[in-house]
Amino acid sequence: MLQQRNPQLNSNGELIHLLSIEGLPSAVIHQILDTAGTFLSVNDREVKKVPLLRGKSVFNLFFENSTRTRTTFEIAAKRLSADVVNLDIARSSAAKGESLLDTIANLSAMHADMFVVRHSESGAPYLIAKHCAPHVHVVNAGDGRHAHPTQGLLDMYTIRHYKQDFTNLTVAVVGDIVHSRVARSDIHALTTLGVPEIRAVGPKTLVPGDLKEMGVRVCHDMAEGIRGADVIIMLRLQNERMSGAMLPSAGEFFKNYGLTPEKLALAKPDCIVMHPGPINRGVEIDSAVADGRQSVILPQVTFGIAVRMAVMSTIAGNNA
């Protein structure tokens, strides 16, 4: 086997792309979270801008639709004073038959400095990072089931904000883990930051035993999974899981794994409830919990802007 260098790091070990949290040293993660902290105050200013990316062009390449994630990246880039171009490729070039790498070559010719990529296939941002010009940086904004590293980082920011220390926490991730890029990024980040107990909770169709290999405890029973938890991360349940014979119905899923106030009472009293959004009320989470005292779902969105600013400014400052 020939060894390959982690493609998101340069030869000095500095972050030049953000493709996955896997393989990032904890120091790099903490540094991004610290930087995000300094950007939070920018968001409270009357003029919400810093000039770190002035004159740079950030291209949002969304091969898969996502209004919310694209908007947060757009806001983050604009607050760094970058020029932002949004390309909804799901409806343009790809539909006309242009290949992924041809699209990238064309946009590179327009002197892009950074690509923010969302794609339905796992690994697509790696292909782009491998084929784009050396000065171009790539941020993975979600690829297939593989990774959603900025979501993982903003989740870590949220946990650090509320819990300070990672090394004494029990974190439960609940729902459709096998198809979730958010779950994978969260699990890698949590293990890297030293969380001693990570539980993956759901039925065997959505939480197969193989997940143990990622360093989590697999729980098929909701009560066992969230008992004594400090943090519960609920995942969004996609409708197509019902047609794929993964689940009989959304109603039955809610009955077994939906987070209700009664179930939440099994966790620690100061347990926080997180969700990457958009939430399905009554499918994975009860409204009383989503809007309740322990929910930090909206602060996650606020932190998300600062974390994405931190990621973009960090990688833009490092050279390949």
Partner: protein, 431 residues
């Protein structure tokens, strides 16, 4: 043309011969082996000092991409790749476009191959029309046109009744059915189920996709009496089932590809599409079982599974990339590498790509069956001359094949082919 090969090390795995000697060739046949009479007056003498003179290699799985995929490979380029790799006979799967389900297509392919005058080509016909798994092909007609067996390539038959009837019908006439054991529904993923696929978020193919198919095939063999050659085993559990079926006496043979012999899913690394292969690469213990089974004879033959894929089809996200790799030019070296690493003799390693695959083909080779894959006086002069001490680095861009993708790019491999003779003609010679 009369050719004299002098001072070589003659290695014939079938007879166990491994000794210095000369080879005399006339009218396409080996006329003397070992000591050549001074009366023999060659028109060409090849000095084989330091070289092994072995039977030409026999590859049971090489896609030439004709007809239908000429942008990915053509007979000219792929046959040139074969002889550059020391391969003198090859079996091609029927998954061309259109698939090889009509005698006319097979005849055309055989005719084109004959005119090129390079490696001998043995096509497999499709087991069902259009590989659709519904209607049987005209097997007798296809055999007459030159098919050596019937196969579904990588398209499993979902309807078990059709599979049973196909086996019944083929066995009526003694035709061998070549099947890659894979459940039609469980086999839809793009990487082997396991830690790596889970981590990378790639859809998995579980081991049971292979073992369920094997159980079905063995049960149907018991009731139909069909002879089956199993293609490209991928798992330790699958190997174990084959071992038991052979012990039971079922008429079954099997092969593995060079990819499964040397690689594991960890080699996918950061979504390297060169590792997008069918069947998918599995884990270390599967690879270890495959290596052991090839050594102990549970696995009969090693194949290149040569599948040229063009740039556009490979430069895609992992799951979307077309499966396959270029292998004809690597078969010899990868067999030798396995042999060296397993502490086996050169002859034992060569057997997996010469006399053993010929045994799998059996009578289907016709007049060649007594001499293909071996060194015999009076036999057809298909030979491979290689330098066993040479080490070379795999550079896919330098392949003669039209396909420039290999999971072995950058590997340093043993054994370099110096010359290949097919029916007494020098089909390849390196400077």
């Amino acid at each position: 043309m009369k050719i004299l090969i002098k001072n070589g090390r003659l290695v014939d795995p079938a007879s166990g011969r491994d000794a210095p000697g000369d080879v005399a060739i006339a009218a396409g046949r080996v006329v003397a082996l070992g000591t050549v009479s001074p009366e023999f007056h060659p028109s060409r003498t090849i000095d084989a000092s330091g070289l092994v003179v072995a039977p030409g290699l026999v590859d049971l799985a090489a896609r030439l991409r004709e007809p239908g995929h000429e942008h990915e490979g053509m007979l000219e380029s792929e046959m040139a790749a074969a002889v550059a790799g020391g391969v003198t006979s090859l079996v091609c799967p029927p998954d061309t476009d259109p698939p090889l389900d009509e005698p006319g297509l097979v005849e055309m392919l055989k005719f084109r191959a004959r005119n090129l005058n390079q490696a001998h080509l043995y096509p497999l016909g499709t087991l069902t029309r259009g590989l659709a798994g519904e209607v049987l092909t005209e097997m007798a007609e296809l055999v007459e046109a030159g098919c050596v067996g019937f196969s579904q390539a990588d398209v499993p038959i979902a309807d078990t009744q059709v599979l049973q009837r196909a086996l019944q019908y083929a066995s009526t006439f003694g035709y061998t059915v070549w099947l890659r054991p894979q459940d039609a529904h469980l086999g839809k993923g793009v990487a082997a189920s396991g830690a790596l696929a889970t981590r990378l978020g790639l859809s998995g193919v579980p081991v049971v996709a292979e073992t369920i198919a094997l159980h079905t095939i063995f049960e149907l063999m018991r009731v139909t009496g069909a002879r089956v050659h199993l293609c490209r085993l991928s798992s330790a559990a699958g190997i174990e089932l084959v071992r038991r079926a052979k012990a039971e006496g079922l008429p079954v043979t099997c092969d593995v590809s060079v990819n499964q012999l040397h690689l594991t899913d960890m080699d996918i690394g950061y979504f390297n599409a060169a590792m997008r292969l069918t069947p998918p690469l599995r884990q270390q213990r599967d690879r270890d079982a495959i290596r052991a089974a090839l050594a102990d004879g549970t696995v009969d033959a090693l194949v290149s599974d040569h599948t040229p894929v063009d740039e556009d089809a490979k430069n895609l996200p992992f799951a979307e990339a077309e499966p396959g790799s270029t292998g004809l030019e690597l078969l010899l070296s990868l067999a030798l590498k396995w042999g060296e690493e397993s502490g086996l003799s050169l002859s034992k390693a060569l057997a997996t790509v010469t006399c053993e695959p010929v045994r799998v083909l059996g009578d289907a080779l016709g007049s060649l069956s007594s001499s293909a894959g071996r060194l015999v006086e009076g036999g057809v002069a298909d030979l491979c001359l290689f330098d066993p001490a040479a080490r070379w680095t795999v550079v896919p861009q330098a392949f003669r094949s039209q396909g420039k993708h290999s999971p072995f790019a950058g590997f340093e491999l043993p054994g370099l082919v110096r010359a290949t003779l097919v029916a007494g003609n020098i089909a390849f010679e390196s400077k």
